[in-house]
Amino acid sequence: MEGRRGTWLLLLPLAAVLGFFLLWPLALVLWESLYLDGGFSLENYLTLFVRSLYRESLATSLLLSASTALLGTAIGLPLSYFVYKSGGRTKSFLLALTAVPLTFSGLVVGFAFIVLLGTSGFLTLILRELFGINPLEFSSFLFTWRGLVIAYLYFLIPRMILTMTAAWSNANWSLAEAALSLGAGPLTVLRRVIIPMLAPAILAGSSLLFAVSMGAFGTAFALTGIAVKILPLVIYTHVSELSADIAKADALAIILTLVTTGVIVAYERFFTSPSKA
């Protein structure tokens, strides 16, 4: 097309400025995390692995993310098949319904769970009436990392459903039909045809779930304040408290970013590699 060179000339400085804008803040955080008393040092990072607060927060975050990714995949996968199979208007309706929780603020989600399952929550009170449970005991579960898993699933299952519904639609069903006609049983078809066919999408979906769980803040904050030590909350306390330890927060932020980015990048490599199955 004509004038392409002109467009490039216009765009290059813009791109440079914005690439800088996007990467600079992060680079700075990295720099600060390595800079200690006028020299470079890995001490901030080493501390993280020495002090149990940091070790535990990283472990909790990983555990939380892995659990939500696993559960979200396990629950979202069959549901997505259901949505895909419903077809026509039903499918459009279900997809629209599924997309709704994605637009909720994480804070609202956390809040809704308090209203539902908190100490004086709606369901808690019903269960007390019906079964005489102890509200404090019951809802204390909600304020642990296991409770966070439940709340996170609320907005992660829809993500999985949306990812997988698209994958089901793009699936080549002739493969399954061919396998059936060649005498394969339903389990063989599932194991040798359908799962290999969907593997990239399933991996994409669960990586996404993992990365989102690692970084989520609003829901956890609304539910537990800073009681459950997950990485984003620990970072927050280091910045907000009077005894602010910026350098530690820097290091934590870098680690959080590395984990989430790493998962997504690793997935991208797999997904876009030419040898995908």
């Binding site: 059936l180 005498g183 040798r192």
Partner: protein, 354 residues
């Protein structure tokens, strides 16, 4: 003994009949094409035979046994899809071996059978190739070998060549027929391409709106179409709107023509004359069935030379073999004649099941 038999089979989706009351008997070893425009029900018919869907009425029989309670995996049918449908995570060899492995064929026998099949489709050297490394034509050959590996009772091909380009399509077409002939397997071939169907089938079944319009050998379908839909679908035709007067007489404008005597009620009808049945004659002689016009077009179709001749404002197509005998040029006056047996009146309806 019938390899495949459909007895008044119907399939509805809501109120829409995808297939309506279709009967078809395919002999063992016969090659039958199901052909028709898109949405005519040909693929649905194939899927009914394969067992992917169940009929709402009627019965499907393979080798004279009712398939009413037999699922896909036990019907022993080989299927070739338009999109090849090779397992992308298996090599060509393992694709072909798939059906043998589900049948727990011993490793040695399996190996020799797969190699024999790959040789048959001309891909001996590519056993270790992944599907993505093969061209479309090669992938479809592997798919064919895979379908044949299980020694199916019937081979079902669903537009197997539609995704390929013209040259590959033409050569693979005849190779499929050769392999079918050699293995002697009953075959049902679905296509929307009338030329393809006519060129390789023992019989052609022409479908429209879920119903059978005509079943018969290619020559019969081509030369004696049951109705205007068939005449129109099977290819280039001169169709003259006029009036059938009965007893082999047809009026087109001022001309009284002597035509094939067909069991058609007198009244408005169309007269079908194949382009290759029109003969160019010296312009002067007087005779029956003679129309005079001007050459307005001259098209080179490889082995054929197709002329367009304008007769009283109506365009006639005339096919000549493209040899160097003097063919008329543009604007030449020519006379066209035809024998009465080459001019067939057709009505708008009427079915001739085979």
């Amino acid at each position: 003994m019938a390899g495949v038999e459909l007895r008044s089979v119907s399939k509805r989706y809501g109120k829409f009949y995808a297939v309506r009351n279709v009967s078809l008997k395919v002999e063992k070893g016969e090659f039958v094409s199901l052909v028709g425009p898109s949405g005519c029900g040909k693929t649905t018919t194939l899927r009914l035979i394969a067992g992917f869907i169940a009929p709402d009425g009627g019965e499907v029989l393979l080798d004279d046994v009712s398939m009413a309670s037999v699922g896909v995996r036990n019907r022993q049918v080989g299927i070739v899809f338009q999109n090849y449908a090779l397992f992308p995570n298996l090599t060509a060899f393992e694709n072909v071996a798939f059906g043998l492995r589900t049948r727990k064929v011993p490793e040695e026998e399996l190996r020799s059978r797969v190699e024999e099949l790959l040789a048959m489709v001309g891909l001996s050297g590519r056993a270790a190739a992944w599907p993505r490394e093969l061209s479309g034509g090669q992938q479809q050959r592997v798919a064919l070998a895979r379908a044949l590996a299980i020694r199916p009772k019937v081979l079902l091909l669903d537009e197997p060549l539609s995704a390929l380009d013209a040259k590959v399509r033409n050569s693979l077409r005849f190779e499929i027929r050769r392999i079918q002939r050699e293995s002697g397997i009953t075959t049902i071939y679905v296509t929307h391409d009338q030329e393809e169907a006519l060129s390789i089938s023992d019989r052609v079944a022409l479908m429209n709106s879920g119903e059978m319009e005509q079943i018969g050998p290619p020559g019969e379908i081509y030369l004696h179409p049951a109705n205007r839909f068939v005449a129109d679908f099977v290819g280039v035709n001169n169709l003259l709107e006029g009036e059938y007067l009965g007893e082999g007489r047809f009026r087109w404008r001022e001309h009284l023509l002597s035509v094939e005597d067909v069991p058609l009620e007198a009244g408005p009808a169309a007269l079908m004359i194949r382009p290759e049945r029109l003969v160019l004659a010296p312009s002067e002689e007087g005779a029956d069935n003679r129309l005079t016009g001007t050459v307005t077009g001259r098209v080179f179709l490889g082995p054929l030379l197709r002329l367009a001749v304008d007769v009283e404002g109506e365009q006639f197509l005339v096919d000549l073999l493209n040899t160097e005998t003097a063919a008329p040029s543009l604007d030449d006056r020519v006379s066209l004649t035809f024998s009465s047996s080459d001019a067939r009146p057709v009505g708008n309806t009427g079915k001739i099941p085979g």
